[in-house]
Symmetry: C2
Subunit: 340 residues, 2 copies
Amino acid sequence: MVTIYDIAEKANVSAMTVSRVINNTGKISDKTRAKVRKVMEELHYVPNHTARSLVLQQTHILFLLITDITNPFYTTLARGAEDAAKKSGYRLLFGNSDESLEKEADYMSTILSSRVDGVLIAPAGDPSLPHLKSLQQHKVPFVLLDREVPGIECDIVLGDSKEGARGLVEYLLKQGHRRIAMINGSSSISSARLRLQGYQEALKLNDIGYEETLVLETSFGPLNDLIEIEQWLDQMEPAPTAIIAGNNMLAVEVIRLLRKRGLRIPEDRSIVCIDDFGPYSQMDPFMTVAAQQAYQFGYLGMQMLIERIKERESPQPWKKIVLPAELIIRRSVLPLKQNR
Amino acid sequence: MVTIYDIAEKANVSAMTVSRVINNTGKISDKTRAKVRKVMEELHYVPNHTARSLVLQQTHILFLLITDITNPFYTTLARGAEDAAKKSGYRLLFGNSDESLEKEADYMSTILSSRVDGVLIAPAGDPSLPHLKSLQQHKVPFVLLDREVPGIECDIVLGDSKEGARGLVEYLLKQGHRRIAMINGSSSISSARLRLQGYQEALKLNDIGYEETLVLETSFGPLNDLIEIEQWLDQMEPAPTAIIAGNNMLAVEVIRLLRKRGLRIPEDRSIVCIDDFGPYSQMDPFMTVAAQQAYQFGYLGMQMLIERIKERESPQPWKKIVLPAELIIRRSVLPLKQNR
DNA sequence: ATGAAAGCGCTAACAA
DNA sequence: TTGTTAGCGCTTTCAT
């Protein structure tokens, strides 16, 4: 491996001079600089980031942990985070926890031991608390994305989940639906809880009773119990005319299972969900959704994180950004006759 | 920061003993081990991976660079790579080049300077050559995914792109289509070239002339020139009855633009593509595709990479895996009357 | 403008 | 079984 000492030797200068040339620090004569640069190129020198991080006590690398790499919400968010990081000259690395607490724990130890400068994290859920506590303990700046975790005070970017869900249900009600089922993520996830609340509130405001059998709590992520979902779909009696899914991945799953049963959307079942489908929003059923501003989650979260890192010394109050969801009406909802 | 010296002091042992406990090396009395472990927990010690990497000259971290984080092919591939890495106890970090040579170059410098142990890379295209050369020069083991790069000999996992495309076109021909257009990625990408060849061969074998105006070369990735695609769609005369897209993202784009024009799929245009849609395959138009084994790309590629790292000393010949694509017939193709 | 020495946190090699 | 020494590649401090 080529080190600054190799460069120094060949250029007849000290290692320190080489270091100065690399980092553009201190005063160096143009002649020396040119000479050093030339040798660096000749030997294909690459700075050893590891060594540099060790002495500087910072890596200039940021980390983004998402919970489902196949979900367009998170991948779009990732693009936003990447763009914001790049703008400030930070490097960004990704991790994917697949909604699993165990994988999240693995990433935590990677994060802590690799001494990244900061973390943008969509936590698996409330049980992520110890993970976040340990970040705090080790003074790793972090920003939470999309999900609150009770017991943690920190910077956070949230979507207005309750309003998003409520808006969708109200839209369904306006279209004449009265029997509306909901499939949702785990109640250990703040956004799932709020989405359920939004659903409940909308029903209540419209004097429609809440029926437990119409609501299924499963997982937002790729680890779903399909049998459970199938049973839920088959056992609702009478069947709902509309279904709201707590996120896009659940909607896709429900669409698949409905079609397996020969049910058409929206003719036989209307369906809506929270989160848009990125590039897939143009595929049938053209879903009516409460679209979250995925890119902004990443972009603004990253800005907050970098801000926090820079202001490390001065104690800023925690910031909380709540991004509204946008109701996008497409064609996955059938207007019923009793339209009002 | 808590270091092994802090632990050593509090436990009344030497730093070396602490190191041995952490790494489970050498002989340590149970009593000492217990004592050290206890102190480590008390002080919430986290090993400094940076320091460790510096002395060991290896990070035990692998890197996966993909070209489009919103493409289910790559995200599914990522899952495969992750699973294989985990199985061997390696950590995996992701990067996303968005099909951009510049972003790829940025990641190269991250990769080189952070001294990861190996890289799994889907190159942006033939111009990635210098990037790969520099990996070789710095003796960073890597495995290429999905795309060959002329001038580079290395381990590689490929899909059978030519056969995949040919199979799709032949299916279209069997359904009676004669005027088949193709939208493809950049010809600087090996898989795009092979897919075009597959298209051309299928036509030739069936005595159908090749028409340049029916073929559009654009980008596989998120940086498409939409105007160009729209013009191409509008200017083909007479219009094709079927379109083959070089990958799934292009298919989605074409679907969107066709629908914008009020054209139905498959009634007005049949459409097929290479690559499946992951969770979205169940959305309409239920696409007929040549599905690549995305997960296997990642899993097998990662296995090869780890193998290569372990056998670093003994010079194994380069390995090449070619994964066949599977024709999945759904409902995006209209059988024409002149069916044969 | 340039260099020498010390040390970031850790482990390999050797010593006791 | 445990400890001492040296050094991984780099930068900070202080000296020249």
